[in-house]
């Protein structure tokens, strides 16, 4: 049923229809509305046969999910930002043990300075954790990816995170088609664990593995993600057939067929980019956009296929690999090894800075004219950083940069954004 609801609520409804048996909840913005909604769904009985555990930390949340999953239960949790980092050790453990936990990450920046707003620094930092990472463009897709996510995770015995932009999506009220329980039941079979803690058939899970077999174990983990490259599109196709919607898959391209310039991006910003692309197309510019849904596994072939024909690629990232620049770009370059084209990395929307059509319009125009720096920070307040840099050059103890900047910004800091 099509409903006008908040993204978090939509995701909660979708997750509930997947019948998770154990949900671990710990509050952190902007994820909190999701577990709040799930809590009411459990209370109301809409989500029956589910243990809702209020844990004391994200580390515990993931740990509880690990235990539940190993005991054969379908486990779900949600987090963001610092919370994701706080559970990192457990993240690697869950994937190492091959436990198909599904987790929502309401993408948010990482401090210091503490910042509750959206970017992809949190999820990007876990790109090598062994988890499958799927990025949602809309709230509809966020919901759909959870349903597909459980299928994929459980078929491969791999944990999977659905990344959705914090606030931008989680707090946005827009139309979401919430599928019927029957539909989801037909699409998602009950969890059949590959291994389970069972007194009638005991096994030891989580052995210590030495040099003699560790490489093999890691290779097998990699191989699973390679299998995911096949499975993700297959599941997406099946989903489309069953639900009549295109969601998920590895990548999704928009007006790229004859495009000379192709923008690569992840998540909710794709919508704004598409509008901008349309504007530029109206001006006769041959530009398109490639949305990467599956960042892990990274679809090298699919990306190469789409980009190979273009003259230039602009990778727009909501994260920064400090000291080198792009994270997604590095992967895109890998996909393009041997292909010669202009490549630009644009770091945009850090810590919730809005990515506006106006800025994008200007940015792409620059790119098309190849006047862009290889690494560009969208809407960077040059004056501000110059001033700070000058300050630091002058006095050794120039005080905390963040506060200085705020002082310089003055009232602007309290402005909407």
């Amino acid at each position: 049923m099509l409903r006008q609801i908040e993204g978090s609520r939509g995701v909660a409804e979708g997750v509930a229809r997947c019948r998770p048996e154990v949900i671990c909840a710990y509050p952190i913005s902007p994820q909190t509305h999701i577990v709040e909604a799930l809590s009411t769904l459990v209370r109301s009985g809409a989500l029956a046969r589910c243990e809702f555990v209020n844990v004391e930390s994200e580390f515990a949340a993931m740990s509880v999910a690990i235990g539940a999953s190993a005991a054969g239960a379908r486990a779900y949790t949600a987090t963001a930002s610092q919370g994701l980092l706080y559970m990192v050790e457990a993240l690697y453990n869950a994937s190492g043990l091959g436990l198909p936990i599904v987790m929502t990450v309401a993408n948010r920046a990482i401090g210091a300075p503490i910042n509750i707003w959206n970017d992809h620094s949190d999820a990007m930092s876990q790109r090598d954790s062994g988890w499958i990472q799927l990025y949602a463009e809309t709230n509809q897709e966020a919901l759909d990816l959870h349903i597909q996510g459980f299928r994929i995770a459980e078929e491969l015995s791999l944990p999977l995170m659905v990344c959705m932009d914090g606030f931008v999506l989680t707090h946005a009220v827009e139309p979401v088609d919430v599928p019927d329980v029957e539909q989801v039941d037909a699409f998602l079979p009950p969890y059949e664990p590959r291994q389970v803690l069972d007194p009638d058939d005991p096994v030891s899970i989580g052995a210590m593995v030495g040099p003699e077999a560790f490489t093999e174990v890691r290779y097998l983990a990699h191989d699973k993600q390679m299998q995911a490259l096949e499975l993700i599109p297959a599941v997406a196709a099946e989903f489309a057939a069953a639900f009549g919607r295109d969601s998920g898959g590895l990548v999704r391209s928009y007006r790229t067929d004859d495009a000379e310039t192709i923008v690569v991006a992840l998540g909710s910003v794709l919508g704004t980019i598409k509008d901008t692309v349309d504007e530029l197309r109206d001006e006769g510019v041959r530009i398109g956009v490639l949305g990467v849904t599956s960042f892990r596994p990274f679809p090298l072939d699919a990306v190469r296929e789409t980009l190979a024909g273009a003259q230039r690629v602009v990778v727009l990232e909501r994260a920064l690999a400090v000291g080198v620049g792009g994270i997604v770009s590095a992967n895109v370059r890998m996909a393009l090894s041997g292909v010669s084209l202009h490549g630009y990395t644009v770091v945009a929307g850090l810590g919730g800075r809005p990515i506006t059509k106006a800025s994008l319009h200007a940015l792409f125009t620059e790119a098309i004219a190849d006047r862009l720096e290889p690494l560009t920070f969208l809407d960077l307040n040059r004056e501000l950083v110059e001033r700070e840099l000058r300050r630091t050059r002058q006095t050794r103890r120039s005080g905390p940069a963040a506060e200085n900047l705020l002082r310089d910004l003055g009232a602007a800091a309290s402005r909407i954004g």
């Binding site: 243990e51 844990v55 930390s57 580390f59 509880v64 235990g67 043990l97 096994v203």
Partner: protein, 334 residues
């Protein structure tokens, strides 16, 4: 004339039972068909107290639950020596996740079993003192506070022995470890206020908290069995001497544990809903020096420049235990 039911043994404190008891009164460890939850071939050191404590506790739990149990293990010696690929010594469904999260993982298992209607299957979490009183404390406290249906067992050997004997929050005052020289009156550990996890557990008002040692396996078994009679969060703190870290002969493991109780250094008791309900009285009270002297980790207290003052402080701690828990009827040190 009270009938001496058990030959030889101090009533209630004999090790494992014997032919003179009715079979149903005999301990699990006396049973030829005992389950050996932790079987032979593990790689624990000679005379390992933890291996002994773990098998005894889990065998008792298996007996109490008709083998319907699952164990979750924190990282540490027990985990490393029991499950190096390609072999495991466990006979039970067993899961190792991380160093600091065993209680939470156990909660997860319990939640899964509950939702699946398998409440007949009981969950035991276990770890060393590092995984319990230090890095695992937050998860443990959360598990307690939610009163999840988990029995958590801490095998306390007073340090990070797996990594080569470093100081932990459970390392007793003046004990030497490889990291204490920097902090304590060289080379021993500092005197803090101590960190009694049993008391911390009791502060959570959980249904059952108990302490035990490998010097009295029957008592340990009893407490493991008793714990399984409760639902909700339960905690069992077991003193398990470590020949490596305590620098004692491998054959002294039990003797040293016994001395820990007979000196009052380690009070053995039970508590329900946060209140002490039973204590194991000291049979022949001994001065703490009798417990300290045989241990290499306290050697510096008995060298050319003996640390009488330090020993006196430790004695004072023991005396406090004796008073707090009423460990002896009469205040005479034999």
């Amino acid at each position: 004339m009270p009938q001496q039911q058990i030959r030889f043994y101090q009533t209630g404190s004999f090790v494992v039972g014997n032919r003179l008891l009715d079979p149903d009164q005999r301990t699990v460890q006396a049973d030829m068909r005992r389950t050996n939850s932790l079987n032979s071939g593990h790689r624990a050191c000679q005379g390992c107290g933890e291996a002994l404590g773990a098998r005894s506790a889990l065998d008792a739990v298996m007996r109490a639950t008709g083998n319907q149990m699952v164990a979750v293990n924190a990282t540490g010696c027990l985990e490393v020596f029991s499950t190096p690929y390609p072999e495991t010594s466990w006979q039970i469904p067993w899961l190792h996740s991380l160093f600091g999260n065993a209680p939470a993982v156990a909660t997860g298992v319990a939640a899964a079993l509950k939702v699946k209607g398998r409440t007949d299957v009981r969950v035991v979490g276990q770890g060393g003192d590092g995984g319990t009183v230090d890095i695992g404390l937050a998860c443990l406290s959360g598990m307690f506070e939610r009163n999840d249906d988990v029995l958590f067992i801490c095998y306390d050997n007073g340090g990070y022995m797996n990594t080569g004997v470093q100081r932990s929050g459970a390392t007793p005052p003046a004990a030497a470890t490889t990291t204490t020289p920097a902090v304590g009156p060289e080379p021993g550990n500092t005197f803090g206020q101590g960190k009694s996890l049993p008391l911390i557990a009791m502060a959570h008002r959980i249904p059952y908290v108990a302490t035990a040692t490998v010097a009295d396996l029957r008592d340990l078994e009893y407490k493991a069995r008793r714990a399984m009679e409760f639902h909700g969060a339960r905690y069992l703190h077991v003193l398990v001497p470590c020949p490596l870290g305590w620098r004692t002969p491998s054959s002294d493991t039990i003797r040293i544990a016994r001395l820990a109780t007979e000196t009052g250094v380690f009070p053995v008791f039970e508590a329900e809903d946060g209140e002490v309900t039973a204590v194991s009285r000291i049979r022949h009270r001994r001065p703490v020096a009798d417990y300290l002297r045989p241990q290499g980790r306290y050697a510096h207290l008995f060298g050319e420049t003996p640390g009488e003052d330090v020993v006196a402080r430790i004695q004072a701690e023991a005396d406090r235990n004796v008073r707090t828990f009423g460990l002896v009827d009469t205040e005479v040190v034999r």
